[in-house]
């Protein structure tokens, strides 16, 4: 009888296991996939690459694990930032917060302050983190030491030069390529070009705050004083004065949009901008009459102030995960791990011009990639950036809650003042570097 009871119990246990299934510790169920919304800033040409990667994930790992990534917004970082700010402020009409989004640590700080971000440490083992370039991972750690911004791709700033147009200009003037390597040279070239072209702009920057921020670092100073901006001092004045004249008199474009917009129509010869912006430049210039000209772009290292140290910014955009239930956070991290793994990371690098973030991709696979790379512009850019990594020191902007307000506030004020001065200049009114500097420092 005891044997019979034991048999019945065994039968019940076996059936229970069969009916409940076995668990591998993952909260996911492939039969009931968890759907995650994603916003990213890899638009334009890069969108195809990111879409293809997301699609690949959904078809392979996502399908096996029960994760579906749905990209619901693709826009520039600044546009995404504005939407994210609306979410942060809880503004009426603000979109729903995405489960995964790209952004910079500055916005992460704000989300983390409101406890709206998932700490990724809980989902990433030491072994996983060890695969990434340590400095890139560290950049994503916020004040409490938690990892909130996971590195996906890095970029720095470079100088894009439309060599076809520059050569035409240089052929008829005393302009030389050497002058493109310093800001003083660029300022001089801008003034020359304005004269030579009859009022066209030569140089622009996608981010004037970065220009000052890095310039200060090159000259051995800092634009920051704790968690505030410090615009006093001779170094800042020197940087300002270097570009003021050509900027106020039209040689340097102080433009609200991206410099690539102006470059596409031949309205700018060179500009500093993110190395990841390469795909926005294309290889043609379209003139007002619709005519298109094939042009050749050179990607030069970020210019340096004379007597300054070779310093450039390292932009640390990454992926963030909204605070949610364990299932969603876990799923998001599974996607992030896959997306940033060496193989996918290199695919992304190959087609976008970003720098990879895994040690293997960054330290071992890049040389091989450069040999086989088909996109000539991306190849030029990566070659230039890799040479910068040999010679330059990289500067990373600090993360503090008011950083975004400080930097964007400075950017708008600087543009506004300079655009006003240019208007005055065109109208023949008097302009003064000193007055504008004083105004800027207020």
């Amino acid at each position: 009888m005891k044997k019979l009871t034991a048999l019945i119990l065994t039968l019940i246990l076996t059936l229970s296991v069969m009916l409940t299934g076995c668990s591998d510790g993952s909260p996911l169920d492939p039969k009931n996939p968890v759907e995650l919304t994603m916003w990213h800033n890899y638009g334009g040409e890069m969108q195809n690459t990111m879409d293809a990667l997301v699609e690949e994930f959904n078809h392979t790992v996502g399908k096996d694990k029960g994760i579906v990534i749905n990209v619901t917004n693709v826009a520039s970082s600044s546009t995404l930032n504005e939407s994210l700010e609306l979410i942060l402020e809880g503004s009426p009409g603000a979109p729903d917060m995405p489960d995964i989004f790209t952004g910079y640590p500055e916005i992460a700080v704000k989300f983390q302050e409101k406890d709206m971000l998932a700490n990724l440490d809980g989902y990433m083992t030491e072994e996983v983190l060890d695969k990434y370039v340590e400095a890139f991972v560290e950049e994503g750690r916020l004040s409490d030491g938690g990892l909130y911004v996971f590195p996906i791709a890095k970029s720095t700033e470079v100088l894009y030069v439309n060599m076809t147009l520059f050569n035409k200009f240089a052929a008829e003037t005393e302009a030389t390529e050497d002058m493109l390597y310093t800001f003083e040279g660029l300022a001089e070239l801008s003034a020359m070009y304005y004269e030579w072209s009859g009022g066209k702009q030569f140089f622009g920057s996608d981010d004037w705050f970065n220009f000052f921020e890095v310039g200060m670092a090159q000259l051995g100073g800092s634009i920051f004083d704790g968690e505030a901006l410090s615009l006093d001092g001779e170094k800042f004045e020197y940087i300002f004065n270097t570009i003021y004249d050509p900027a106020a008199k039209g040689g340097i474009a102080v433009y609200d949009g991206y410099s690539s917009d102006l470059s596409k129509t031949g309205d700018l010869i060179c500009s500093t901008g993110s190395s990841a912006g390469i795909l926005f430049y294309g290889d043609t210039v379209t003139y007002e009459n619709g005519a298109e000209e094939k042009v050749d772009y050179s990607i030069l290292p970020y210019p340096v102030f004379e007597n300054g140290a070779k310093t450039a910014i390292q932009r640390g955009g990454g992926l963030m995960v909204s605070k949610s239930d364990e299932k969603k956070e876990y799923a998001a991290c599974e996607f992030i791990k896959w997306l940033t793994a060496s193989e996918q990371n290199m695919k992304f690098v190959n087609e976008t011009g970003y720098l990879p973030v895994t040690k293997q991709a960054f330290e071992e696979d890049m040389d091989e990639l450069l040999d086989t790379m088909e996109n000539a512009n991306v190849k030029k850019m990566l070659t230039s950036v890799l040479s910068m990594y040999d010679e330059y020191t990289f500067f990373t902007a600090p993360n503090y809650p008011k950083f975004n307000d400080d930097s964007s506030g400075f950017e708008s004020k600087f543009k506004e003042l300079l655009q006003e001065d240019y208007k005055k200049f065109l109208a023949g009114e008097a302009i003064s570097a000193g007055d504008t500097l004083t105004e800027l420092r207020k």
Partner: protein, 560 residues
């Protein structure tokens, strides 16, 4: 395992015989199994086990109805907005033509006027993009800024404003980028040029422009409400996102059709608006023009779980392979799908595109549908198994509980430990049994004591007789000659087998007649044996013989 259990049970049964408990358990289990089988049969007969199939059917019906209604409403509203926008733009353009002293037909000959003409339409486009769900809004003129260029025939001037967040319509969070058009217009309005920005459209290989323009030119008297056109999914050359394009002709006051304008229903917008809730079943929605064999998915758009819908599918249409159980089955290059389809009305009655049929479909991969149905059967089987196990456990417990008073009572009977009120009065049958047994015991005891009495009397009589016999034997012994007695005893062994039989019968007290009958002897035969016995034992009569025998019996305790 079941086999082992049965074998074990049989072995146990054969060894000891079936117990009441097992027998009751067997009845219970048999009853349970029969009930569950009947239950299962009834469920199957009434189709309850196919519940999931019906649920899927109903779910898809509901989603399809909602989606198709929503699509018709949204596309209808978009068509109306497109017509209004076309009328507004045409009116503004007429004003421009008048001011600049040209007719609409002369625009292609005045490329310098294209940019200022478009500049005048920017605000209308921006307003439309800002105030409604769309992937973008556009104008395409049948003109180019460079008529002398080689590709002038396929290069069309215009503007395309792209919305990065297609569902944002409030003043907060509306971001518009510039995909096509003269760059200065973007700068004037602070719009960013997209990476794919080009000044003009390249319409080579894309028929929608010519179709709309030609149809409008061929039907100058038709209102715009009959001339608007929904293109299938188009990826504009150099663009990164495809979409359906609502195209409305731009017709001047003088009837010249000089371009078109419209609104884009982009992939992303479609996905956002029509993605079915995947919480219940993993289905996806398709809107596509009909094709000969089924759904023209190569020109359609899809919303739903991405992993069920591959990019490759867009290159092929879905072929209708038949209907069954209320589902329509489709086969495509990438797999088989099942679901439901409903026709869509995208055009007004008498529209020139009235014959272009579109459909909305809610589909799922055929394997997912099979899994959903199979899953319900497995679930049902699981429930039946659990029910069965629970019933068996219940049977074991109940039967044991039920039979235990009986086995206890039997044990008490076996141990004779029952009392008149042995089951504490709980079970009347056991009480009766115990009362009966107690009564029986009592009667038995009485019978035993009476028998004992009788036995005692008989023993006393026996002892008395025995004493009498001893006395008689003693007397006989004294009356006989000791030598003759010794001779008698000594010669007993000389009797033949037959003589001994006769002798033994005499000892038993049988009479001559009885001995003759027993041994089948004649009178003479008996006399012959008697004579021999007497002579061998040295006696002269039967009386003397019996006397000797009595003495021997007395001396040897009954044995001769």
């Amino acid at each position: 395992m079941l086999k082992e259990a049965v074998a074990l049970w049989k072995k146990e049964r054969n060894k000891k015989g079936t117990t009441l408990h097992r027998r009751l358990l067997l009845f219970f289990v048999s009853l349970t199994i029969v009930l569950i089988l009947v239950f299962t049969l009834l469920l199957s007969l009434f189709g309850i086990t196919g519940k999931d199939e019906k649920t899927v059917n109903n779910y898809i019906d509901a989603v399809l109805t909602n989606t198709a209604d929503k699509i018709e409403d949204d596309f209808g509203a978009m068509s109306l907005d497109g017509i209004n926008m076309a009328e507004a733009i045409a009116e503004q353009c007429d004003g421009f033509f008048q001011v600049n002293g040209i007719t609409a037909a002369e625009l292609p000959e005045h490329p310098e006027m294209i940019q200022p003409l478009l500049a005048g339409q920017m605000q209308t486009l921006i307003n439309m993009a800002s105030n409604r769900y769309c992937g973008g809004v556009f104008i395409m003129l049948d003109a180019t800024v460079d008529p002398a260029a080689e590709d002038a025939e396929t290069s069309k001037a215009g503007v395309f404003l792209k919305k990065t967040q297609p569902t944002q319509t409030t003043s907060l969070g509306v971001y518009i980028d510039y995909l096509r058009g003269p760059a200065p217009l973007a700068r004037e309005h602070g719009l960013m040029l997209l990476g794919q920005w080009k000044m003009e459209y390249d319409i080579s290989g894309q028929e929608f422009f010519t179709t709309v323009m030609q149809t409008a030119r061929d039907n100058p008297d038709q209102p715009l409400s009959r001339l608007y056109y929904w293109s299938g999914r188009i990826l504009l050359k150099g663009n990164s996102e495809a979409g359906f394009m609502l195209c409305v002709p731009l017709r001047s006051e003088d009837g010249t059709v000089f371009g078109l304008c419209g609104i884009e229903m982009s992939d992303r917008l479609f996905k956002t608006l029509y993605q079915p809730d995947s919480g219940t079943y993993d289905v996806f929605a398709i809107v596509a023009p009909d094709c000969e064999d089924g759904l023209g998915t190569s020109k359609g758009m899809i919303a739903g779980s991405t992993f069920l819908t591959t990019g490759a599918r867009w290159e092929n249409d879905l072929t209708d392979t038949g209907r069954s159980d209320g589902f329509t089955y489709y086969s495509g290059a990438n797999g088989k799908y099942a679901g439901k389809t409903a026709g869509l009305r995208l055009y007004t009655a008498n529209s020139l595109y009235e014959n272009e049929n579109w459909s909305a479909a809610i589909l799922m991969p055929q394997s997912v549908l099979s899994d959903a149905v199979k899953g319900s059967v497995s679930y049902f089987i699981g429930i039946v198994i659990v029910l069965l196990i629970l019933s068996i456990i219940a049977s074991v417990v109940i039967s044991r509980k039920y039979i235990s008073p009986v086995t206890e009572a039997l044990e008490q009977v076996k141990n004779k430990s029952y009392t008149e009120n042995g089951s504490n009065g709980r079970f009347s049958e056991i009480n009766d049994l115990f009362e009966f047994l107690v009564q029986q015991d009592r009667e038995h005891e009485e019978a035993v004591s009476s028998l004992d009495e009788q036995h005692r009397a008989e023993v006393e009589a026996h002892e008395k007789t025995k004493g009498e016999l001893a006395r008689v034997a003693g007397e006989a012994k004294q009356s006989i000659d000791p030598d003759s007695y010794a001779l008698f005893v000594g010669r007993l062994a000389t009797l033949t087998k037959r003589e001994r039989e006769v002798f033994d019968l005499y000892i038993e007290g049988k009479k001559a007649k009885e001995i003759m009958e027993i041994l089948a002897l004649t009178d003479n035969g008996l006399k012959f044996h008697n004579k021999n016995i007497y002579s061998k034992l040295g006696v002269s009569s039967r009386k003397e013989l019996l006397k000797y025998v009595a003495i021997i019996k007395h001396e040897q305790g009954g044995n001769v």
